[in-house]
Symmetry: C2
Subunit: 195 residues, 2 copies
C-alpha cells in the first residue's frame, strides 16, 4: 500500500534525514555553461569541485503525483560567475514548481521559451512560485553558506536540459567589486534567431 | 503574462507576507465534527472561536499547476479533542499533497476510502508526503502555539469535504491526563457498512 511518509530537515545544515536518491553535480558536468571558459578550465585542472547536490524522493512520474526534495548549491565562483545548477525547462512545459528556501542566500534565474526573463531573490523563509513554462536555475550568491531549497513539482513534469545547455539563460549572475550584478549572456540567442 | 511570484514566511508567527485569499474557520462551521457535542455546545455558547485559518495563492485549477499556501491551526480543545481542520479528500482522488511544518506541534490524521488510517507527527522542519487517495486533517496538539504548515498540491485536485463531514475520520486525537491519545471515533463506519 501507498503509505504517507515523512522526513526531517535537519538544521543548521538543512539536509534531509532520509532520501531515496542523491545526485552530485561536479564542475566537469557543466562544461560550456559558465561564461569564463578559461577560469572554468583552470578550476577544473585544480579540482573537479562539487557545485550542487539534489536529494529526491521516489514517486511515480504521473499527473496528480508530486515530486519533491532538497537542493543544495555550494558557495563559490567560476571566474566572476556564482556556482549554479544546470537549470532546465520541464519536458511538459505546462507544469509549475514551488520552492521554499531553507538556508543561505541566492537567486532563481528564470526564462520563458519566448525569451522573457526574471530573477527572484532566495533567502530563508522565502517561497517562490515558478509558473508553467518558465525554465529555472538556482544560483548561490553567498560567500560561505550553502543555498538550500525545498522544492515540489508535478509528477509528470519531466526535465529538458538541452535547450539551456545549448544557449544558457539570457542573464548571468556575477560578482563585480563584491556586488551582485545581472548581466547579458553573450552566448544567448533570441528564440527567433536560433538556427 | 504569467510572472514568477514570491512571498516571505515571517517568523516567529510563520505567517505569509502576502496572500490572495484568507479563509477563517470558526467553531460554528464544524457542528457535529467534534466527539463531545456537549462540550462543543458549551464552548460555542461562550464564544464562536476561530479554530483555523488558511492563506492561499490563486492559480488556475488545472493539472500541471500547483496550489499552495499556509495553514494555521490554533491551540485549544473541544472537550478532550484538540482543535483541528475539517479535513477532506481531494475531489480527484489520485492527487497527492506535500506539507512542510513551519511552527508548532501537531499531527496529520489520514485515511483512505478503504478505511486504512495513519497519523504522522508534525513539528518544525518535518516534511510530510500525503499520497494520492488519502484524506487528511491537521490537528494542533500543542498547548499554546499555533500549528503552522506550508502546503502544496496539484491544481486539479479539488476538495471533497462531504465524506468526512458525514462520518469523521476513523481516529480521533484527544488528550488524556496531559497525554496525546489516538482513539476510535464512535461515529465512524467502515466504508463497506455505510448505508
Amino acid at each position: 500500500m501507498d503509505l504517507p511518509s515523512t522526513f526531517d530537515v535537519i538544521f543548521p545544515q538543512a539536509l534531509p534525514s532520509t532520501y531515496d536518491n542523491h545526485t552530485v553535480r561536479k564542475l566537469s558536468s557543466m562544461k560550456g555553461q559558465f561564461a569564463d571558459q578559461q577560469a572554468y578550465a583552470r578550476l577544473l585542472d585544480k579540482e573537479d569541485v562539487v557545485l550542487y547536490e539534489v536529494y529526491e524522493f521516489k514517486r511515480p512520474q504521473e499527473a496528480g503525483e508530486l515530486l519533491y526534495g532538497i537542493s543544495v548549491v555550494h558557495p563559490g565562483k567560476v571566474g566572476d560567475e556564482y556556482y549554479m545548477t544546470k537549470g532546465h525547462f520541464h519536458a511538459v512545459r505546462e507544469t509549475a514548481e514551488v520552492y521554499y528556501c531553507l538556508k543561505g542566500q541566492g537567486v532563481m534565474v528564470m526564462e520563458t521559451p519566448e525569451g522573457d526573463w526574471a530573477v527572484e531573490e532566495l533567502r530563508p523563509g522565502k517561497v517562490l512560485y515558478v509558473p508553467p513554462c518558465w525554465a529555472h536555475r538556482s544560483v548561490n550568491t553567498g560567500s560561505q553558506e550553502d543555498l538550500v531549497t525545498f522544492f515540489v513539482y508535478p509528477g509528470h513534469a519531466g526535465h529538458d536540459y538541452g535547450t539551456i545547455e545549448q544557449y544558457g539563460f539570457r542573464k548571468l549572475v556575477i560578482e563585480v567589486n563584491g556586488q551582485l550584478q545581472i548581466v547579458d549572456n553573450p552566448r544567448w540567442q533570441a528564440p527567433g534567431e536560433r538556427p
